[in-house]
Symmetry: C2
Subunit: 217 residues, 2 copies
Amino acid sequence: MSLVRVHNFSISLDGYGTGEGQSLESPFGHAADRLHRWFFGTRTFRRMQGREGGGTGVDDAMARTWADGIGAEIMGRNKFGPQRGPWQDEDWKGWWGSNPPFHTPVFVLTHHPRPSVEMEGGTVFHFIDATPEEALRQAREAAGGKDVRIGGGPRTVRAFLEADLIDHLHVVVVPIVLGRGESLWAGLEGLEERFDSEAVAGPSGVTHLTFTRRGTA
Amino acid sequence: MSLVRVHNFSISLDGYGTGEGQSLESPFGHAADRLHRWFFGTRTFRRMQGREGGGTGVDDAMARTWADGIGAEIMGRNKFGPQRGPWQDEDWKGWWGSNPPFHTPVFVLTHHPRPSVEMEGGTVFHFIDATPEEALRQAREAAGGKDVRIGGGPRTVRAFLEADLIDHLHVVVVPIVLGRGESLWAGLEGLEERFDSEAVAGPSGVTHLTFTRRGTA
């Protein structure tokens, strides 16, 4: 069965998955890198960058499950880049350089479709104007029976949770108070009723929460 | 040194320390008992009720530190009871029966002072209209050199955090999304800069976060 999964989704104590004031210089706004420092220390992250070393404890173990069995990703346009509205610059190909870490088809949700972009290493960006259900249908087809990852940002994850399309949700609670930004939890009252949850703290100070849809475990 | 401490303060994933619609029948509003179920299973809670049994794992270890070394409590009026505005019913003596679990002076913050109420077992409720700083001055005097506990609710804890008067903060994050209620974190952006923090998950599914003011450890 092809599952829909969210991994390594970092939020602050007050539930924000990104800060305010996102821009080319500050992809996470005033949150800067504070939501993701736990990840930079992991072996998984180092490998993505072609580097050695990094921790191999619980933070790494949780981070590592990110790519396993994934056949496609769906992401919001704000994760893909800082532009809003009609595309001013079609040369923009994401934050990740010529060989992005996805290595699968990636469906970017946008009200402004544009031609697909093929990158090195198997990543192909498709730009679609679609509901969560329709985006998932296309991603599943492209994934060839494998799982689909919902890559964020917060608004995109929230939309898929609202539509009850997520089977596995891994949230990393970072012990900071951002005060403002984009909330993961807004509008999701009672979410826990659809999931079994588990919590484990890492020595980096973050807490890994996993939500597994009841009936899929 | 007399410290100011918060213990066993439960919040939802979205940061609410109480639900919406608090009343005599529902002291925590629509949250009902969901924020405190982890506590009911502990030996500490059973003992408070004069009962035996209960778990003795990490949830209990964290809960148990609640009373140790405390000489006075400060609480908001909404923790004391469901009445708002001028007191209609001075016979109301709190939710806790004739022998409340505090066993110390308790300062209830209210814009409507009333005569103090002496209970069995050493608890005396004082009703004062005071700033956090002034309330703490009175509580410290009554505590005779011991620590002062800030007992909640969320608005009261927040006011003391805003005034930077808290030395030790123990928050219990419960894996539920309440969606609405009284937020603990609102207005506290950057709180973590003043504290060292630690996280540990309990088998009940909650995460215990402790914040220790830098310089007091």
